[in-house]
Symmetry: C2
């Protein structure tokens, strides 16, 4: 019972982060930006993010019931806050450079979180791997857009 509640509350945390993608849409501004040839198709983003939000909530719920989980739980809180911050900064505020700074910080924290999760529970650690990989792509994409759209950068 308690474990189901824990997973449910982590899903709510993921849901708050996911809500930013619904509230702050890419729109005409994002369409007008130059993007690299390796930018994933538009439909890929919501599919991948939904999967990642479910996966990270599930991994966190596994770790939450283990002893000595303090650092892991702190890292999860930091990454979900940074994740919630990125979308409004980038799509809401059109702040490409600041978005990149948030994303680099998020990537570092998620790599650290995956590492600490791995030390507590192998499965939870591996469940964070797709998130790390996707953030590498997202950071590269944010960097490329920042370098190649100087006029749109604020």
């Amino acid at each position: 019972m308690s474990e189901a509640w824990i997973f449910g509350v982590f899903l709510l945390a993921s849901g708050a982060a996911a809500a930013t993608g619904v509230i702050f849409k890419p729109g005409a501004w994002y369409e007008s930006l130059k993007k690299p040839s390796w930018t994933p198709a538009k439909w890929v983003f919501p599919v991948v993010w939904t999967s990642l939000y479910l996966l990270m909530a599930w991994a966190a719920a596994r770790v939450a019931v283990l002893p000595e989980n303090g650092l892991a739980m702190a890292l999860f809180a930091a990454q979900i806050a940074l994740n919630t911050l990125w979308t409004p900064v980038f799509f809401g505020g059109h702040r490409i450079g600041l978005g990149l700074a948030v994303l680099v910080c998020l990537l570092v924290i998620v790599i650290w979180a995956a590492w600490v999760f791995l030390s507590l529970d192998l499965i939870a650690g591996f469940a964070m791997a797709p998130y790390v990989l996707w953030l590498c792509l997202a950071t590269a994409l944010n960097y490329w857009i920042w370098r190649n759209n100087s006029s749109a950068v604020s």
Copy 2:
């Protein structure tokens, strides 16, 4: 050593939420809204929020090193994500009604978190009390603004 890291990472989570207050400023739109006579003075908000962010990180770090902290840590993650969401929704997107929905959800989660913190560690539970009280005021203020600024509501 590990406890200092845990506090530091929770501070980063608080910092990500606090950053929204710097990035999404009230500005002319907020100035133009009708506000109740009991609205606190402008300087109060950053002072109170800075104190609350420090206090919640400290309370979370106390609970993070205790056994059976899973639900408490899930609730902290959910509240810091919802907290990070509110400012861009309200000040960034000018979505007063949606901001109120986020704030009500945040208030419920923070009351629940304070309750669970209290069951694990008296001091950590009491450290969440000012946050609960301030959120009651913030929710009342958001509600008042929503009811009395129909033309500015989107």
